[in-house]
């Protein structure tokens, strides 16, 4: 049975690990991929991350092959086809793992324990094991052989973007970490940096973090603002509109594409820019709603963060893994049966601006969720840079999946871990917002404010603008988006 690694550490070290996060300078990557040149890299798993990272690493001159379970090879499953059709060597664990200098575990979280237990005895003395998510080490407490180096390289984007940006000559923001208990030769960082260069990540910015900070912030972001808030918000906003007589097709469309549209503004200029897209009275309305939401939801965000920090969340979820995912699958089916999910989007035209004007409550929910997630993470000792990436930065990426095929697509494409946390959040948040929603009308969701009243109080507007702009997520966001823009644009 698993043993939570984080909980075995003394408080002093827990705090130190949680606070690890540093934006690395371009000069730290001058050695390129040298540390991995001529080394044999074997990737376990060939889904979107596995395949696309492998394509990049090979194009950077590195020696990449794939290892799959015997059954995946025999049955020529999609993972086998992905690897072999792209001209990679594919072999079983027994064939390839003993030859590997570095083994890249790019399988889903749930498979980490059995996969690592299967490959570890086959790995050669002094080799390196790499993860792209630290759940297995931190939450399951997997103990890795003492002679092995353990690192993490986690591109903060979907696999297809990892590839697309590399091909353009750029990369995606990437988080790297070394598991300090497993760095016997002291070269973990050099390997992680070379790996990040191989995938092109160094061009877009690399955060040096720890396994613990990555896990505790990643879990928090995905289950609260990223997936949970969008799911709860979708259901509440849709039901409210139907209740108030808004056309069902319109309501469905406003929500399905609304999250993507409003968070696009978030991507460019943070919460401030998203609110600036509203008229002055609508902005003040959204601000007031979000303040109210933050008061109601704060205890829930705290509970999620607490459960993540103390291991309650992972323990509960792993119990469900052991129980054939009964809860997960049941909740997934329930989501599929909701009115929002079953009502197709109408074919009316909705302009970009209308999504803001008629979706004031959605804007308020995104603002409240982003700020609460950020505030809760930083209060738990996570550095602002990490908290920004795990909240605001990823929100547009998830919103994009809802635009494609609603909640089904979102839950199908995020990890099972994120999906599980998302349902927990949703179940708690729906009743929590019951009273709040009673007072909501179509002026803030579905129809917009009436246009005959466009006046605002100067003092109040100044106050609201000041509050928006001085939130700490805006300061770190401006800095990090600045880094990205510097690298992306010509200097």
């Amino acid at each position: 049975m698993s043993n939570n690694y984080f909980n075995t550490l003394p408080l002093r070290e827990q705090l130190e690990q949680l606070a690890k996060c540093r934006f690395m300078h371009m000069d730290e990557f001058t050695e390129g991929v040298d540390a991995l040149k001529g080394k044999k890299m074997v990737i376990i798993g060939c889904g979107a991350q596995g395949l696309n990272q492998g394509l990049n690493l090979r194009d950077s001159g590195l020696d990449v092959s794939y290892t799959l379970r015997q059954s995946a090879i025999d049955e020529k499953r999609q993972s086998f086809k992905n690897a072999s059709e792209n001209g990679f060597t594919v072999g079983t664990y027994e064939e390839l793992i003993p030859t590997a200098d570095i083994v890249l575990n790019l399988t889903p979280d749930k498979q980490h324990s059995p996969v690592v237990e299967a490959v570890m005895p086959l790995m050669k003395q002094g080799a390196c094991l790499s993860y792209s998510h630290g759940f297995n080490i931190v939450e399951e407490g997997m103990k890795i052989r003492d002679d092995l180096t353990v690192i993490m390289v986690a591109p903060k984007c979907p696999g297809s973007e990892v590839r697309a940006e590399y091909v353009r000559g750029f990369g995606v923001p990437t988080l790297i970490a070394v598991h300090e208990d497993n760095d016997p030769q002291g070269h973990g960082l050099a390997l992680a940096k070379a790996y990040a260069v191989g995938t092109g990540g160094h061009k877009a910015g690399v955060l040096m973090s720890s396994f613990i900070a990555e896990v505790k912030s990643d879990l928090m972001g995905e289950q609260t603002i990223l997936c949970g808030m969008l799911q709860t918000g979708s259901l509440l906003c849709f039901d409210k509109m139907i209740d108030k007589g808004v056309d069902a097709g319109y309501a469905s469309k406003l929500i399905q594409y609304g999250w993507e549209t409003v968070t696009e503004a978030l991507k460019y200029g943070g919460v401030t820019n998203m609110l600036d897209r509203l008229s002055n009275p609508a902005k003040i309305k959204a601000f007031d709603l979000s303040e109210e939401l933050k008061v109601i939801m704060r205890p829930l965000y705290n509970k999620h963060q607490d459960d993540i920090i103390n291991g309650t969340f992972s323990r509960t979820m792993m119990a469900d893994w052991a129980n054939d995912d009964v809860n997960l699958l049941g909740w997934r089916a329930e989501t599929g049966e909701t009115a929002f999910e079953k009502t197709p989007a109408g074919d009316m035209e909705i302009s970009e601006q209308e999504y803001f004007d008629h979706g004031i409550l959605m804007v308020a929910m995104v603002k409240a969720g982003v700020e609460l997630a950020f505030e809760t993470m930083t209060a738990a000792g996570i550095i602002a840079d990490s908290a920004y990436y795990e909240s605001l930065h990823e929100t547009p990426l998830i919103a994009n999946t809802i635009a494609r095929k609603k909640l089904y697509e979102m839950n199908a494409t995020i990890s099972d871990t994120a999906e599980y946390g998302c349902y927990l959040y949703n179940h708690a948040c729906l009743p929590l917002l019951g009273d709040f929603m009673k007072d909501i009308d179509t002026d803030v969701i579905g129809r917009g404010l009436s246009s005959d009243d466009n006046g605002v109080d100067n003092a109040r507007l100044i106050e609201v603008n000041e509050a928006l702009r001085s939130h700490p997520v805006e300061a770190i966001g401006a800095t990090l988006r600045g880094h990205m823009a510097d690298m992306k644009k010509i200097v």
Binding site: G47, Q78, G87, S160, R168, G169, E409
Partner: protein, 475 residues
Amino acid sequence: MMQLHDLSVEFDEGFQLKHINWQVEQHQHWLITGANGAGKSALAAVLAGYGEILAGSTSGIPSNIGWVSFEAQAELIQAELKKDDADILDVISLGTPVREIIFTNEVDPVIAQDLIHKFELNYLLERAFRKLSTGESRKVMLIRALSCHADLLILDEPFDGLDSAAHTMLQGHLIDVVKHTPVVMVLNRFDEIPGFISHIAYVEHGELRHQVKRQDTKAYDELYQLLHLKTTDLQVPTADTENSIPTLDPKKPLVKLNNISIKHTDMVLIKDLDWCIQPNENWQLSGPNGSGKTALLSLITGDHPQCYTNDIYVFGYQRGNGESIWQIKQYIGYVSTALQWEYRVGTSLRNVIISGFYDSIGLYSRSSDRQKEIADEWLALLGMGNRGDQPFNKLSYGDQRLLLIARAMVKHPPLLILDEPCLGLDDINRQLVLALIEKICAARETSVIYVNHHAQDRIVGINNYLALEKSSDNS
């Protein structure tokens, strides 16, 4: 009868059509022509319902319209690409199969099936639309437009990207179609005007400047002249001597492909091919749509994954021995329609040219003053000297193409690959591009691989030919 009455229309990019007065009578078939960026495609798009009407009015425009254009094609491909990044963690999207793209509710399945047969597309109905070659996806667009019983057909450059067999087939097919359906066609190439065109509209700077009847030979000839403005003598800007490409051994071939094959799950695209390109050799590569021209070139550029499973020697590197693709790409300049679709970047025109020094889509490196100077020389050459700071993605299709050709040439690469470089260009710009390529060939420091369908686009200085045939076992 369709009427546009003193119509002014604005498009997303801020482009405007101004004060258009135009009347299309029953049984007339119009050609819209003009220079790149003049507003030809915009005028056609107005009929398809695009753009925001600022003033004036329209009447009589039917609602059921068949529309084929690069913009519509790019839109569909972009929608497909968007589906492709559907994975947040671990799902590979397979894309929409061609069958689903063609057989929508609007389409008459009998006509569509007949066209599929005529275009010889049967074998790729189950393939993902986004995996098609440029010519193949163009054919799919044509089938959709031609089989929806449209009351008006808008064909914006319908022949571009088609191989000669498909070109002839389509011309023949249209002769039947025009008997019952009015056609508005946009063409850059005067020499391709079909016989049934009865009227010509000439657009310039967003205005409808001339309307000419086909029978009026004098007016017709003048219009032709207008499009054939002679280019003055061209001086190709020099390379950047401060950051030159590492030199190659002049005795070794640039490219040596030994017995290569390209296989897909459902077919063998290329089988047992040898190809050796020596320094200063210029090549023309031809073949029908789907014969593997682009795939073959991407083996050389390193963009095809099977470059690691074949015996390929490029620029001193035997592939698969620890070299990076950037070490390969530094020796290559490259232009293709696919590149243009990928080059969806809001960066400035100057930066697009400078990105040719770094082989990137967009610019992510600090460039030197010298590189900026060279980029400005290229802009002047293309007649865009005062537009260096404008955003690339707001340019017309043809202007974008010219910019990308300059981007490919800017570093004076040892190998310049031009995959149908004239697609989407008007006569004047086509001549400009061909003249540029001839200069480059004549300078004898660059080897050129030139891919095209148009036999009349021969280039002086090309004397090696490779013709691919469509693989037979692709059922």
